[in-house]
Symmetry: C2
Subunit: 274 residues, 2 copies
């Protein structure tokens, strides 16, 4: 499918993509970059990449570049590679927010497609690479009117080969939706685990553990995601705060019927989650 692939950021998503591409024989050669040499070495040892990239000049004969760093670095790196890549090279990113990234990369890279595989995990980093984390996952592609249709179809086929179900969503709608379905749950999980006094933690069960699982997510990565989707996340937090205030009011008023109604609605909404 591709001759020379460059993966910039060989963490959980980037590394797992490399591993899956090698296993499915979708790439002849994969060159990996990482901020930390140690991680790139691990990725090579695990078979996720063939070579460790020395400098960015190597992008010049690549036919696919995957930007798999945190959000801010994706934008920075795009500026550094734009004049080095050949005109047929396809560039994709796997960032968790899309509006800012797509606004920038869409104008400076000829064959760019924004991607967001919903296959991350609170377990970051190369040690958690898995071959099939994309199997049965959803991958959101965020094409714009500038996106080349042939390139889009190729990338769509690429993600399907990874086992993902592909959905096309405009960048702005992507960020609005993910503010609610991913960034808000992270914000809530961070706040929830922080609110619990230390000495009560041992008196808990699987319910708490699941509810705060994602509070183990990486701080630097998530601060960047939050800030790159700031306004939409604030809107989502406001909606959530209203819901918790309503529940609190029902509790203050000892209104059992109202409380049951609130919980029943939550049950119904929960049912709609696939």
């Amino acid at each position: 499918m591709f001759k020379k692939v460059i993966i910039i950021g060989t963490g959980l998503i980037g590394g797992s993509l490399g591993l899956a591409m090698k296993n499915k024989k979708l790439a002849r050669t994969i060159v990996g970059f990482s901020r930390h040499l140690e991680n790139a070495r691990k990725a090579r040892k695990m078979g996720a990449i063939d070579y460790i990239g020395k400098d960015l000049e190597t992008v010049k004969d690549a036919d696919l570049i995957i930007l798999a760093t945190p959000v801010k670095s994706i934008i920075e790196i795009s500026s550094r590679i734009k004049d080095k890549i050949n005109k047929n090279c396809i560039v994709i990113d796997v960032g968790s927010t899309k509006q800012a990234i797509v606004a920038k990369l869409d104008t400076i890279i000829p064959n760019f497609v924004g991607c967001h595989p919903l296959a991350g995990s609170e377990k970051r980093g190369v040690s958690n690479l898995e071959n099939d984390i994309f199997k049965d996952s959803i991958c959101i592609l965020t094409p714009t009117p500038r996106t080349n249709t042939k390139v889009l179809n190729r990338i769509r086929a690429f993600w399907k080969r990874m086992g993902a179900k592909v959905v096309l969503v405009a960048p702005e709608k992507h960020d609005r939706a993910l503010a609610f379905t991913s960034h808000l749950p992270h914000a809530v999980a961070f706040a929830l685990i922080s609110a619990i006094p230390d000495n009560y933690l041992s008196l808990s069960s699987g319910g708490l553990k699941d509810t705060v699982r994602i509070s183990a997510s990486d701080s630097e990565l998530w601060a960047q995601i939050f800030l790159s989707n700031r306004q939409k996340l604030l809107t989502a937090i406001n909606s959530f705060q209203k819901k918790i205030s309503t529940l609190k009011l029902a509790l203050e008023n000892k209104n059992e019927k109202f409380l049951i109604g609130i919980i029943k609605k939550a049950n119904q909404q929960r049912e709609k989650l696939r």
Copy 2:
């Protein structure tokens, strides 16, 4: 261990206790009561109880009575059985809040021990009975100065045979802790899933699913739990609201360093969860 056991409420916890007691041969005869005859029949069919109780007179020769109904009914039923049971009969409950229940039952039942097995699930009811839901779970016992030591030791041994790790906690502390570690996460999960617009739900991954798993919990059961621990849950919600407001402030101020600090603290707190 027991000759005649009465289980009032043959749902997930009551039914699973019956099943485990039969499998471990801890009870010669188990009589089960349920509000819905259908559930009692299912429990009998599954081998969780031997007989379906006809009326409460049958408690008179029981040596163990397990109250496994929602919180309000536990208190109501205790008044109805107190004059029928023999003086050596042990009564335990498995309610999710303890202060109100223990305050009442401790005074009217000679051999009472409040229990809270942390082994519930959002899947309520007899169809979800499992033999080993108590294995490796925590069971909190809430003795008071009135609790008979021999009875306490017998009940402690009983839960150990069920595979649970037994912890003794005063009823008031139990309710304070569980307000944070169980009731607050439920309130948060109910509010979170309700805040997400319907049309965004499909753009989500396992992170959201885990975070709101317990939002599928039963409305009647949980409204009663919330109301029976109202003041302490309000305190917990207030703490949580402060944390989410702080996070929001960091976001409003675009303060990346502050945001990273908040998330790092959450990471550390999450680490402390067993």
